[in-house]
């Protein structure tokens, strides 16, 4: 059988026992469902935002970007769930499947973290801009009242 990544395994293999497979199987099922609900919520958010924007004529408010991040994370979570599921269903490549599953989940977390950092930077810039505008208006008002 081919290695899951189509190459010779770098990892020493180990076979999980039945009790451990039960834990992994439970995790795989829940991860799959979590990924699906994440994607469903992202799609609802995008569709709802588009519908409201169309009826109100308002501009995009950034929730769609969050929804896209959720959909991407959901896809990585489902990919991780499939690799976890393969640990239970196959024999001989448990550690390789485990590492692929953990790397997929790790990517989902990385996407989430990058989104949080970008959001934090944007919010900080907006707050700084508003404070700057406030200072400009305050100095203008002070010079006018003199």
């Amino acid at each position: 059988m081919m290695h899951p990544q189509g190459q010779q395994p770098n990892w020493q293999q180990y076979e999980f026992n039945e009790a451990q497979n039960a834990v992994i199987s439970k995790l795989a099922n829940r991860m799959l469902l979590a990924g699906v609900t994440q994607i469903v919520f992202g799609v609802i958010d995008i569709l709802g935002s588009c519908k409201i924007q169309a009826s109100e004529g308002a501009s995009s408010n950034g929730t769609s970007l969050f929804a896209l991040v959720l959909i991407l994370c959901g896809a990585f979570t489902i990919s991780a769930a499939q690799s976890f599921s393969k640990i239970v269903k196959t024999q001989g490549w448990d550690i390789s499947h485990l590492m692929l599953a953990l790397q997929s989940y790790s990517r989902a977390l990385l996407v989430q973290f990058i989104f949080y950092v970008i959001t934090a930077v944007l919010v900080t810039l907006i707050i700084l801009f508003l404070l700057l505008m406030l200072l400009v208006f305050a100095s203008l008002f002070a010079s006018m009242t003199k």
Binding site: Q13, Q20, L27, T37, F41, I44, D45, K51, Q103, Y116
Partner: protein
């Protein structure tokens, strides 16, 4: 059942992950901790922001919006705490020696709890968002 080359360790409980595996666990645990901490901070700010906005700016109006956003923010907070909780055993795999599979199973168990909260949170958020969108469209 698919069959593959057998390199099985008969003493499962004594299996020790190698340096390459440990690197994967190390990166995963670090990302889980970072995302968990940011999620906790953001959800606390969200709850505070929504509540302050409801009381000070909207003067009690927009209760529906608040009723929708607060449970979602609380689920987000719970997710952050559970992420931190699940990161600890992954970190233990790297830091300790002799019980890697035990730590892995503990991590998976905690990750399962996190996934259950995520399923509940996103299902609840989906229902609440549909209600919010319908109410917004009907009241326009």
């Amino acid at each position: 059942m698919q069959q593959g080359p057998e390199m099985l360790d008969p003493k499962g409980h004594e299996y020790e992950f190698g340096p390459q595996d440990n690197q994967v666990f190390h990166v995963l645990a670090a990302r889980m901790r970072r995302v968990g901490v940011v999620q906790i901070i953001l959800s606390i700010l969200q709850v505070g922001g929504y509540t302050a906005g409801f009381i000070l700016v909207q003067k009690g109006a927009g209760a529906l919006q608040l009723a929708i956003e607060i449970p979602i923010a609380l689920a987000f907070l719970a997710g952050g705490v559970l992420l931190l909780n699940a990161a600890a055993p992954f970190r233990s795999i790297v830091d300790s020696w002799g019980n890697d599979v035990g730590h892995l199973m503990k991590a998976f168990d905690r990750l399962s709890t996190l996934m259950t909260v995520m399923i509940g949170g996103f299902a609840l958020a989906s229902v609440l968002y549909i209600v919010m969108f319908v109410v917004k469209l009907v009241t326009k």
